[in-house]
C-alpha cells in the first residue's frame, strides 16, 4: 500500500517534470523527416489518437480514408488511405510525418501539425482575423504521440 502510494506520487512528479521536458516545436530534430525520440516521454494513447483523427485540429480523415473508422463517414481522398500505415512506416517515421510531413514529402499538401513558424498571413484559428501572440502548434506534443500510437495499430499484415 505505502509502496504503491509512493510510486503514484513519484509518477505524478515525473509527469510534471516530463511536462517541463516536452520537446518544443522549435526544438524538434528531424533526420530525413524522422523523429527518433518521443516528444513527451509519455506513451501515446491510441484511443485518444483515434479521436484526433476525426475531429478538431487533427481531422486527418478530411484527407485520408481509414477503413477502421468507417463509422465516422465522409473520409477524404486527398492523401493515401492510412490502412496498413504501421506496415509501411516505423513509429519514428510516423512521428516525423505527423509532426511535419513537409520534412518527409517535399511540398506536400499535408499540414504541419507540430510547427509554429514560417506561416503566411497566420490567422486566429478559423476567425479570418490576424493571429496575435504566441503560436500554438495544431496538435500538442502529447496529441502527436497519441495519433502516432493510433497509427501504429493500423496493421494489415
Amino acid at each position: 500500500m505505502t509502496r504503491f502510494a509512493i510510486f503514484a506520487a513519484t509518477a505524478s512528479l515525473c509527469a510534471t517534470s516530463a511536462a517541463a521536458e516536452i520537446v518544443k516545436p522549435t526544438d524538434v530534430t528531424f533526420v530525413d523527416g524522422v523523429i527518433e525520440a518521443s516528444l513527451t516521454g509519455t506513451p501515446g494513447d491510441p484511443a485518444a489518437g483515434a479521436e484526433i483523427m476525426d475531429k478538431g485540429a487533427g481531422n486527418c480523415i478530411a484527407c485520408h480514408a481509414v477503413t477502421e473508422l468507417d463509422h465516422l463517414g465522409f473520409h477524404g481522398e486527398i492523401g493515401p488511405p492510412l490502412d496498413g500505415a504501421a506496415d509501411r512506416w516505423s513509429e519514428a517515421e510516423l512521428r516525423g510525418i505527423v509532426a511535419d510531413a513537409k520534412q518527409m514529402f517535399d511540398g506536400t499538401m499535408m499540414p504541419s501539425f507540430y510547427r509554429v513558424d514560417g506561416f503566411i498571413r497566420l490567422g486566429d484559428a478559423y476567425t479570418g482575423d490576424a493571429h496575435q501572440g504566441e503560436v500554438e502548434p495544431l496538435l500538442t506534443a502529447q496529441q502527436i504521440e497519441d495519433v502516432v500510437a493510433y497509427l501504429m495499430t493500423l496493421k494489415d499484415e
Binding site: A65, G76, E77, R88, F105, H131
Partner: protein, 286 residues
C-alpha cells in the same frame, strides 16, 4: 529504403487504394445544363492557354449532386430568382440626388447582356481593374449621386445576380493582357500562395484535387462563372469575394477584405481560369 523510394511506395499505395475508394465521386459528372429549355450552358471546355496545369475546365455545377443541379434547370426552381426580380425593380427605380435610375442611362437590364462575361475589366479613365461591384458603385456615386452599396451586401449581390442572369450562356472572356496584366499576375501569385496555419493555396484544393472529396465536400475547380451562388447551406445569394474569404479563412489564415486590391486581382485571375465557360450565375450550390 531511401527517402525517395519510401515516398513513391506510399504514393503508389495511395493510387491503387484510391481507385477503389473514389469511384463514386471521382471527377465531374457527364450532365448537360440547359436553362429554361433554351439557354445552353457550356460547363466543360478546353482550358485557356494561360492556364498551366489543367487541360479541361469545368463549371462547379458538374460537381454537384443531381438534386442540387436540378435547381438550375428552370428559373422557377432557382431560389436566386426572387432577388433577381428585386434587382430588376431597383434597376428601374430612381434614387439619389441626380434623380436617376440605372435604366435612365442604360435602358432595360437586358441591355447589359455580355457585360458580366468581361468583368473584372480594365477601366482606362480610372486607371484600375474594376469588378462589376466597383463599376456599380461608381455609377451610384458619380452618376446617380446615391449612396454606394456595401461590397458584398444584399443590394449589391442582387444587382450582380441580375447582370449575371442577363448574360447567361455567354462565354466568360476576361482580358488579362495590356494594362490588366500586372493585376492578373498579382492574382496568380495569390492563387498559388499557401496561406495560414494549414498552408493551403487555392491550387492545392481546386487545381490539384478537384474531383476528390475533402471530408464531406466534393472539390470543384473553384470556378466563378456561376456567381453569385445561392447556397443551400446558408439559403442566400453569395458574392464571389465572400466565397474567397471563406476559403482563405478555412486555411486558418488572416483573410483579405471583400473589395480589397488582393481579392480584385484574385477575381480577375480566377475568372480568367474560366474563360470559355458560360456565364451561369446566379447558380445553385450546396
Amino acid at each position: 529504403m531511401t527517402r525517395q523510394t519510401r515516398v513513391r511506395a506510399g504514393a503508389a499505395i495511395g493510387v491503387v487504394a484510391g481507385v477503389l475508394a473514389v469511384a463514386a465521386h471521382a471527377g465531374p459528372d457527364d450532365d448537360d445544363l440547359v436553362i429554361n429549355g433554351e439557354i445552353e450552358i457550356v460547363t466543360e471546355t478546353a482550358a485557356p492557354e494561360h492556364i498551366e496545369h489543367v487541360g479541361t475546365i469545368y463549371s462547379g455545377w458538374r460537381f454537384r449532386s443531381d438534386e442540387t443541379q436540378a435547381f438550375q434547370v428552370d428559373d422557377f426552381d432557382n431560389p436566386s430568382m426572387i432577388w433577381v426580380e428585386q434587382a430588376e425593380e431597383v434597376w428601374n427605380t430612381a434614387e439619389g440626388a441626380a434623380g436617376k435610375s440605372c435604366a435612365s442611362c442604360h435602358d432595360g437590364s437586358d441591355s447589359m447582356a455580355g457585360v458580366r462575361a468581361v468583368y473584372p475589366k480594365w477601366n482606362e479613365d480610372a486607371g484600375e481593374v474594376r469588378t462589376l461591384e466597383m463599376q456599380i458603385n461608381d455609377c451610384r456615386e458619380n452618376r446617380m449621386q446615391a449612396e454606394t452599396w456595401k461590397y458584398t451586401g444584399g443590394e449589391m449581390v442582387n444587382m450582380v445576380a441580375l447582370l449575371s442572369a442577363v448574360s447567361r450562356g455567354i462565354p466568360v472572356n476576361v482580358a488579362i493582357d495590356g494594362p490588366a496584366q500586372s493585376t492578373w499576375e498579382m492574382g496568380k501569385d495569390i492563387y498559388y500562395t499557401r496561406y495560414g496555419q494549414l498552408e493551403l493555396s487555392c491550387a492545392n484544393c481546386h487545381e490539384d484535387n478537384y474531383g476528390n472529396m475533402i471530408r464531406a465536400d466534393h472539390l470543384s475547380q473553384g470556378q466563378i462563372n456561376g456567381f453569385p451562388t445561392y447556397r443551400l447551406k446558408n439559403t442566400k445569394l453569395n458574392a464571389v469575394h465572400a466565397r474567397f474569404k471563406g476559403c482563405v479563412r478555412d486555411t486558418r489564415a488572416e483573410t483579405f477584405a471583400p473589395g480589397s486590391p488582393e481579392f480584385v486581382a484574385l477575381e480577375l485571375y480566377v475568372a480568367s481560369r474560366g474563360n470559355g465557360l458560360s456565364v451561369e450565375g446566379p447558380s445553385v450550390r450546396n
